[in-house]
Amino acid sequence: MIVETVVFAVAAVVILVGAVGVVAARNPVHSALMLVMTLFGVAVLFVAQGAHFLAAVQVIVYAGAIVVLFLFVIMLLGVDTAENLGTEPLAGQRPATSVFAVLSVSLLALLGVRAVQVSTGARSVTASLEDGRSNVEVLAEALFTDYVFAFEVTSVLLVIAVVGAVVMARRPRREPADDEAAAAEAPPAGAGSEAA
């Protein structure tokens, strides 16, 4: 079908333009919006490969929650003055990264293509994608049988992340002093008062 090729081409262009936009935009808000574009493109490719549940989660969690969190923090803290991308703080950083980019693309692409060609692994070890059931059913069964322990550990991870975020973003009881010397003294005093 020509349709799949067209869908892939359009999605690939959207993904790459969005990714370059994230890296090249001077304003962090523009970077966040470009990130949404890339995430939608990846969701389209998930649908094209039959991963319908992951496509939905990609849009809901990534574009709906994570990028909104990024935008929230950017807006909360005030839009940073646009970064001057013209200056190069480390001498030779840009040439070195371009060499790295060429090596990285060629190595990763070679690795992936070669892996597809020589892959002799057993097929459908966990569960086949094409046994008549929907993608959500197959994924849910694998998730709640073979991978149920990892699923439970994930819930512990999320609790830890929430507690960590609260601890770090909480306003300390004593306002930190402006100069470094007083700031160095402040944490022991604050810790002492918390223990008491």
């Binding site: 790459l16 890296v23 892996a115 597809v116 966990t126």
Partner: protein
Amino acid sequence: MTVDDSWYLLLSALLFTIGSLGVLTRRNSIVVFMCVELMLNAVNLTFVTFSSVLDDIAGQVVVFFVLVVAAAEVVVGLGIIVAILRRRPNATADDVSLLRG
């Protein structure tokens, strides 16, 4: 599948490299986080591609866990950035270099 799987892997390699370039060159730590998300998405695309190559659901299960870990990572990372910005005016990578040695 009419689109060859190698094209998906090539696109994924490009996306991963763009993300890692951003991590290496950008100094605004929020943008660096977004570039880490790009790299995670490239890996997710690879997992889904191999899931369809090998006709196995396990690759998609891994992507599900990667999504969860990415959400947790962003929450903690942005918490750290907020904590840094409470003490000093901006949080570019050059400003948080006290441990540089």
